[in-house]
Structure formats: structure tokens, C-alpha cells
């Protein structure tokens, strides 16, 4: 156990260095992008004088040299502050990002849980019924899922389930003006969660199927069957557990990709998460929010990757971390 802790500590230190590098990279990329927050604020159809724009830049500190701007931001970040949003009435970044983290985690957890359950079940079913009608049907669905970009499935889902069938809310997380109810939250969550899971379900299904097929041909599976183990036990205890390793790796790496998918889903469904916030912030060149959100997402991915690596040791005792 101490070895695992040392390993985790080393990884976290490396993660902190990566976050610092990430902050420099994001800062430079933002400044390299054309236009700044003031340029984004001015509506070209409602003219504003460049003098007023200059005054705004001075007020926001955008007239300072880049190293000064970065170091000022870094000093704030070390104090646990990330400045204020440059949009609207300027909410503090950290509480804003944290308030958006919950909805994104909820959406991603729902999407990934659905993807894991459906993907692994489908993959196992396909492998067990290899080349049968079930396998063929699931393969077709998986290929459709893999080929559907998140924005397309999101728009189609919105149109079919909300506009045409009217069985799901068209957006948001809760019905405005109505007291909080778990059912209301679930109603708003189900459709975006399901649509977020589509691509991941397909991937997990294909990986599980292929890993299961490989494992099902192993000698120990034959031995288990020869010893009279029930088929369900062979599949679940002997085959699936050994087939899960590559699938867990995939799920770990899927989390980072799911953040990207969540951006589309959140934008289409107006889900008040990190993705929607990032899209709005990029459009407004809201530097503090983009920096804060990038760091939080970066930290999130680093920690989850570490947890995934640690999970290997739990699933397969032969693997030792550190």
C-alpha cells in the first residue's frame, strides 16, 4: 500500500507540473487567437468608439504586457482565485466553474454509466452469440453509433424526442419557476445522457466483444466448462473479468473524449455545464473563465487517469503499480 501511495503522490506531482504547463499553453493560445474580450463585447452593428474600447481594455488589464498578465493570473490562482468572468456581471470564476462542474459530472456520469452498462452487455451478448442475428444487429447499431458525431445525434434526438414526440424537455436542467423535483431533473437528464452515451456505448461494445472473443478461446475457459461450471458463471466470472482490462483502459480514455462530447450535448440541450460555459466563454474571449475551466478539466482528467491506473491493480492482481 505505501508503494501505491508513493506512486499516486509521484503521479499527482507530475500532474501539477502538467497543469502549470497547460496554463501557459492555454494562456498563449488565447492571446494568439484573433480578438480579445473587448472585441467580442462590441456589436459591429452598434458602433462603439475605439476610445471607449481602449478604456475598457485598461479597466480589464488587457493593456498590460503578456508576462505581467500571466503572472498576475498565476498569483491569483495560487491564492485559490481565478479572477472574474468578463461576461455579464462578472461572476467569480472559481465558484462559476465549480457550479458548472456538477451538472457536467452528472451528465457525463449518466452518459458513461449508460454506455458502460449497454456497451458491456451488448459486447458480451455479441461475443456469446457470435455471427448470429443478435451479433449482427448489435454490430450494425455499434457502427451507426461510432459513425454518428455527437452534434448530429444531439440535434436529431432533440428534434425527434422533444419537438416531434414531445416526450422530453427541449433543454435546461430544471423547469424554470417550478420547485426542485428529482423527477424533473431526471426528465431533463435522460435524453442528453442517452445521446451522450451513443458513441461510447458503440465503442465499448466493440471492444468488449473483441476482448470476450479472445478470452472465450482460452484454455481456462474450456477447463471451467469441462469442470461443469454453469455457462453464466463461465461468462461472468471467468471470461468477462479477464476481458474487462482493455475495456477499463478504453473507459478511462473515453472520459477525456466524453468531455468533448459533452460540449456539443450541453450546447444543444442548454445543459448548464462546463461545455456550455466553455463555448460561451470562447465566443466571448472570456480569458479568466477559459483558463479556470481548462485547469479544472485538466485536473479532472489527470486524476481520473490515475484512478484508472490504480483500478487495474484491483481488477487484475497480477498488475502492480509503482
Amino acid at each position: 500500500m505505501p508503494r501505491t501511495l508513493r506512486y499516486a503522490g509521484r503521479r499527482l506531482l507530475a500532474g501539477a507540473a502538467m497543469l502549470l504547463a497547460l496554463s501557459v499553453l492555454v494562456f498563449l493560445l488565447l492571446r494568439a487567437a484573433p480578438g480579445d474580450p473587448v472585441d467580442a463585447f462590441v456589436n459591429p452593428s452598434v458602433a462603439m468608439s475605439p476610445q471607449d474600447m481602449t478604456a475598457l481594455r485598461e479597466r480589464l488589464g488587457l493593456d498590460q504586457p503578456l508576462p505581467v498578465q500571466y503572472l498576475a493570473w498565476l498569483a491569483q490562482a495560487f491564492r485559490g482565485e481565478f479572477g472574474y468572468s468578463l461576461q455579464g456581471t462578472g461572476e467569480p470564476v472559481l465558484p462559476l466553474v465549480i457550479s458548472r462542474l456538477g451538472p457536467t459530472l452528472l451528465l457525463m456520469a449518466t452518459g458513461l454509466s449508460l454506455a458502460i452498462v449497454l456497451g458491456i452487455s451488448g459486447g458480451v451478448a455479441g461475443a456469446v452469440r457470435r455471427n448470429g442475428a443478435v451479433d449482427l444487429g448489435l454490430s450494425v447499431l455499434a457502427f451507426l453509433g461510432i459513425s454518428s458525431p455527437a452534434f448530429l445525434s444531439a440535434l436529431l434526438g432533440l428534434y425527434v424526442f422533444s419537438v416531434r414526440l414531445g416526450v422530453a424537455p427541449s433543454g435546461g436542467m430544471l423547469t424554470p419557476g417550478v420547485p426542485f423535483a428529482l423527477g424533473d431533473l431526471a426528465a431533463h437528464l435522460l435524453l442528453p445522457g442517452l445521446l451522450l452515451s451513443v458513441g461510447h456505448t458503440a465503442l465499448i461494445m466493440r471492444y468488449t466483444r473483441s476482448a470476450m472473443l479472445e478470452v472465450l478461446n482460452q484454455d481456462y475457459i474450456r477447463t471451467a466448462r469441462a469442470k461443469g461450471a454453469r455457462e453464466i458463471s463461465v461468462i461472468a466470472r471467468h471470461a468477462l473479468r479477464n476481458a474487462l482490462l482493455p475495456v477499463v483502459t478504453l473507459i478511462g480514455s473515453t472520459i477525456g473524449i466524453a468531455v468533448g462530447g459533452a460540449v456539443f450535448i450541453e450546447s444543444v440541450f442548454n445543459w448548464p455545464g462546463m461545455g456550455l460555459m466553455m463555448v460561451t466563454a470562447v465566443r466571448a474571449r472570456d480569458y479568466p473563465v477559459i483558463m479556470g475551466a481548462a485547469l479544472v478539466i485538466g485536473a479532472f482528467v489527470i486524476v481520473l487517469n490515475l484512478l484508472t491506473d490504480l483500478a487495474y491493480a484491483v481488477i487484475d492482481p497480477r498488475i502492480r503499480v509503482g
Binding site: 456589436n43 452598434v46 478604456a55 455579464g88 461572476e91 425527434v160 422533444s162 435522460l190
Partner: protein, 525 residues
């Protein structure tokens, strides 16, 4: 009989309905109007500070009020918190008689609040976007609680228009906050108070704002209990919410109107955008110096065809910066589509020598599918006469960074397809065309240096006789039409969709969201 469609609905809806989840879709509290009030170009979602607002006034005036406001036709400035106003003959004194009313917290509204607000709005440290426009106000006098007098150092033709956007704020609630802290103070999004028909209730970050009825409103208790302004990342999201019945109103793109036109559940609201679209000729780029080339561009573009086939007729051709009849004199050149004439003008100007077939960047920040089709049509029409333009569509910050750059690359915006607000106050386009407004002084981004045009604007802005002002702007229009500082194209219509469940609901697609007399206290559902 179960149809194939209903069977599909049952199959897909079953899991939702079985858990009782689907039923909450679209559920709203009784007597609540929900809408996308900040959707589209007139909106400014998430901004509650009227001092920093450049749009979104439709929503702000549900709980805040300016001294004066446009009527619902955007023709006349009438009293709001001021019951009446008068302007001295020399245009240097504006006297406002104030309404007897109270703030949402019960405190009395007085002339001290007016003075506090004007002084705050003049102070750039408060983040006010009105500071420059209110610069002519030398002092605010308050002889009694019901009278406020603005003394100007020089006449300002646009002052009343500016004042329609300055929401009067409560001195007793804000005086203790240093102006520099106001731009991002939590007060705006947590506990703002105004004098309007609704009270601020709740803001859920990035989701919605809710207002509740102000039973003590001097214009009468509102007909509904609450109004909810939902935020949408895209107009498509708002359209989906409209069609599913979750909201009762939203701005929509022109492309979406057809989906609602013949639907009895909805009412299509059409109005003037008050934005003139134009092709800007960057005067720092030598190819546009010759008037014959600019005239050739105008003759090359078949505006009627674009208006009819792409805008579906929902636009008015503009032969100068204005389309309002009061500012458009008779006898303007309509620049009819004439390819032969365009080619002849180019040949006369020696186009082959001054540019030839070299591509010219046609920059725009308009990125809706309709605008991209318009750009493609313009490109094809100009190519027909031998002018090779290459459209470049960028986002707003990129566009502004190019045209306002301290050391501009002129060829990156040799030509622009853009728009500028041209009303209701006609003086507003001065900032984009007068030579005195060349950056960094103003927003004359095409660096138009035309003495006749600047003189015409100066004369119109300095005209103290309101009766003569339209004629002065007609002079501006004449010069624009003959000198072609821009290739003016059209003024399009903009649209809103309202559920027919809404009664006495007033909304117009006013530029920047107005404000205008919407009488929200009369809205019902």
C-alpha cells in the same frame, strides 16, 4: 385506431411515461410567461448591469425604467419615469417632470435618483458604455423631488435616444458601492430593484431569470404572476422550446419563420431591423478610390433578386444609409442591376490596370446560413463583371480585431459585408461615416474621407430646429447615394414568434432590444 406514428410514439415514450418523467416536460407554473427574451441580436444574456449593456433592453425594462422611452413604433420618444419633458430652443436644457412612484423596496423615487444615475453613467470608471455619449451633460439640477434638469455644454442631437437606454437606478441602494466595484457587483444579479412592473426574483446562472409581478406598479398590477427569461445557446434551441410549448415567445431567424407561418398556435411578428447592410469599400485600398468602380459594384449586384429569392421579400433596398421615408429624398439613383453598365464603368476606370483579376477579401462577421448564401450571390455577381472577391467569414471578435487594429492590414478587410444601426435616431450612423470618426476617434472603420459627407452630417447633428432635421438627414442621404462611401444594400426584417396563448403581448425586433413601450403589465396568458 393505432397509427404507425402513434405506435412509434408509444414505444419511445413508454420508458419516460412509465416513470412519470416525461410529464414534466414543458410544465410551467400558472400565469407565467416564459420566453427567450435575450435570443438574437437584440439580446444580451447574463447582463443585468444596464450601465454596461449594449443590448438586452427589452428584458431590462421589465423591472427597470429609463426617464424616456420610444413608443412601440420606434418613432417618438415619450415619457417613462418622466411623465413629461421639454427641451429648450437652444437645445441646451432638458427638463423632466418625474412620476410619483416607488422603488421595489418601498422607498420613494426622486430626482436625486436621476442625478445619481446620470452622474454614474457619465463616469467611465463605473464601466458605463454611455460615458462618451453623455459627455455633453454639464450638470444635473434637481430643484425639487419631481423635477430633474439636464444642462448641456453643447447641443446633442442623440441625447434623447441615449437617455432611452439609461435605466434609472436607486441611489439609496448603490451610493455606498464605489463606482469601480459596480461592474461586477453581485447586486445586479441577486437583488436589483427598479420601478418597473416586475420585480427581480431569481437568476440561475446560464439558465434563466425569473421576475415576479410588482403589485404596486403605478401603471396597474401586472396580469401575470411571473415572467421567465430562458437562455438558449442557439436560436435553434429556442425554436425547439417554442415548438414543444416550453416557452411562448422568442426571436427567430428569418429561415425559421416558414415553420410557424401557417401554424394557428403561433403569431409571427415582423419588424424593421433598423440595421442597414452595406458593402464597405476600404478607402485605404487604392482600388476603391475611383467612384466609377464603386458605382460599378452597385450596378453589378442584383439587389432585387437577392431580396426576393434569398430574403423572401423581407428586406427593403437601401439607396443610402436610411430607408425611413422621412430621411430619403426623391430622385436618388437606384443603381439598377446592369451588367453592361458595370463593365463599362470598370473599363472607363481602368480596372484591368488598377486591380485586374486579383482576389479582394470580402470580410464579414455574419455567419448564419442565409448570410453565407448572400455572400455567395454577391461573389458570383461581382465575378460576372470582372471583380474577383473572396468571402471570408469570421466571428465578431476576429472581425473587430481586424478592423480596429492599431496597425491594420488594409487588405484583410479591403471590402466588408456588414451592418450598422441606422435608427430610430438617424444621427447614429454618423459614427461610421464622418471623417472625424476615423479610428481611434470613432467607428469609421472603412476610413471614409469625404468632406461633403462629413459636412452634411455636421449640419444635421448641429441642427437645433427639430422641424428642419429630417431635411438635413435627406442631405446626408443624397451625398451617400451619389458619393457611395458604402455600397448600401438593404434593411432586412427581423422576426419574433409568439404563442397565440399570449394576449396583449407587445414585442418588436428593435435594435439592441429597444427599449420601447412594451407595457409588460398588460401581458397575459
Amino acid at each position: 385506431m393505432i397509427t404507425r406514428r402513434s405506435l412509434a410514439q408509444i414505444t419511445i415514450a413508454a420508458p419516460l411515461l412509465a416513470t412519470g418523467l416525461g410529464r414534466s416536460a414543458g410544465a410551467q407554473a400558472a400565469r407565467t410567461i416564459s420566453g427567450g427574451f435575450d435570443v438574437g441580436p437584440g439580446g444580451m444574456p447574463g447582463n443585468f448591469n444596464p450601465m454596461t449593456a449594449t443590448a438586452g433592453f427589452t428584458w431590462l425594462t421589465l423591472y427597470l425604467e429609463p426617464l424616456v422611452i420610444y413608443d412601440a413604433k420606434l418613432e417618438t420618444v415619450v415619457g417613462a419615469l418622466a411623465t413629461s419633458y421639454s427641451v429648450s430652443a437652444d437645445q441646451l436644457t432638458y427638463t423632466f417632470k418625474l412620476a410619483d412612484t416607488r422603488w421595489h423596496d418601498g422607498q420613494a423615487f426622486t430626482s436625486a435618483d436621476v442625478r445619481f444615475t446620470i452622474e454614474l453613467a457619465k463616469n467611465a470608471a463605473s464601466g458605463s458604455t454611455f460615458a462618451a455619449r453623455l459627455g455633453a451633460i454639464a450638470s444635473v439640477e434637481t430643484p425639487d423631488a419631481r423635477t430633474a434638469i439636464l444642462k448641456l455644454s453643447a447641443p446633442n442631437a442623440g441625447l434623447l435616444d441615449t437617455l432611452t437606454k439609461v435605466m434609472i437606478l436607486p441611489q439609496h441602494a448603490l451610493a455606498a458601492i464605489p463606482p469601480a466595484d459596480l461592474p461586477r457587483h453581485a447586486w445586479w444579479s441577486t437583488s436589483p430593484i427598479g420601478t418597473g412592473p416586475f420585480k427581480f426574483t431569481r437568476y440561475v446562472s446560464g439558465q434563466y431569470v425569473a421576475l415576479s409581478a410588482n403589485a404596486d406598479f403605478r401603471g396597474g398590477k401586472p396580469q401575470v404572476d411571473s415572467v421567465v427569461n430562458r437562455y438558449f445557446e442557439s436560436t435553434a434551441g429556442a425554436v425547439a422550446a417554442l415548438r414543444s410549448g416550453e416557452i411562448q415567445f422568442s426571436y427567430v431567424e428569418a429561415d425559421d419563420v416558414a415553420n410557424f407561418r401557417n401554424n394557428p398556435a403561433f403569431r409571427v411578428i415582423e419588424g424593421n431591423s433598423f440595421v442597414v447592410n452595406y458593402l464597405g469599400f476600404n478607402q485605404e485600398v487604392p482600388v476603391w478610390k475611383d467612384l466609377r468602380v464603386r458605382r460599378a459594384v452597385m450596378h453589378a449586384i442584383d439587389r432585387a433578386a437577392i431580396i426576393n429569392s434569398l430574403y423572401g421579400g423581407a428586406a427593403v433596398a437601401a439607396n443610402c444609409g436610411y430607408v425611413a421615408p422621412a430621411f430619403v429624398p426623391a430622385g436618388l439613383d437606384a443603381y439598377p442591376h446592369d451588367v453592361a453598365k458595370a463593365k463599362a464603368l470598370l473599363a472607363e476606370a481602368g480596372w484591368d490596370k488598377i486591380n485586374g483579376a486579383k482576389p479582394i477579401t470580402l470580410l464579414t462577421y455574419y455567419n448564419a446560413p442565409l448570410a453565407i448564401n448572400v455572400m455567395a450571390a454577391i461573389q458570383a455577381m461581382l465575378a460576372e463583371v470582372g471583380i474577383n472577391v473572396v468571402p471570408r467569414v469570421v466571428d465578431v471578435p476576429t472581425y473587430n480585431s481586424l478592423v480596429y487594429a492599431a496597425t491594420p492590414d488594409w487588405n484583410s478587410f479591403a471590402m466588408v459585408y456588414a451592418g450598422l444601426q441606422n435608427g430610430p435616431d438617424p444621427s447614429i450612423i454618423n459614427i461610421g461615416l464622418n471623417e472625424k470618426q476615423i479610428p481611434p476617434a470613432g467607428a469609421n472603420i472603412m476610413r471614409v474621407r469625404m468632406p461633403k459627407l462629413s459636412a452634411a452630417f455636421d449640419a444635421a447633428l448641429g441642427e437645433t430646429d427639430a422641424g428642419k432635421r429630417p431635411a438635413r438627414y435627406q442631405d446626408v442621404c443624397k451625398v451617400m447615394n451619389s458619393e457611395l462611401p458604402w455600397g448600401t444594400l438593404w434593411v432586412t426584417a427581423r422576426y419574433g414568434i409568439a404563442s397565440t396563448k399570449l394576449k396583449d403581448f407587445t414585442w418588436i425586433p428593435a435594435p439592441a432590444g429597444g427599449p420601447y413601450e412594451a407595457h409588460p403589465e398588460r401581458w397575459s396568458i
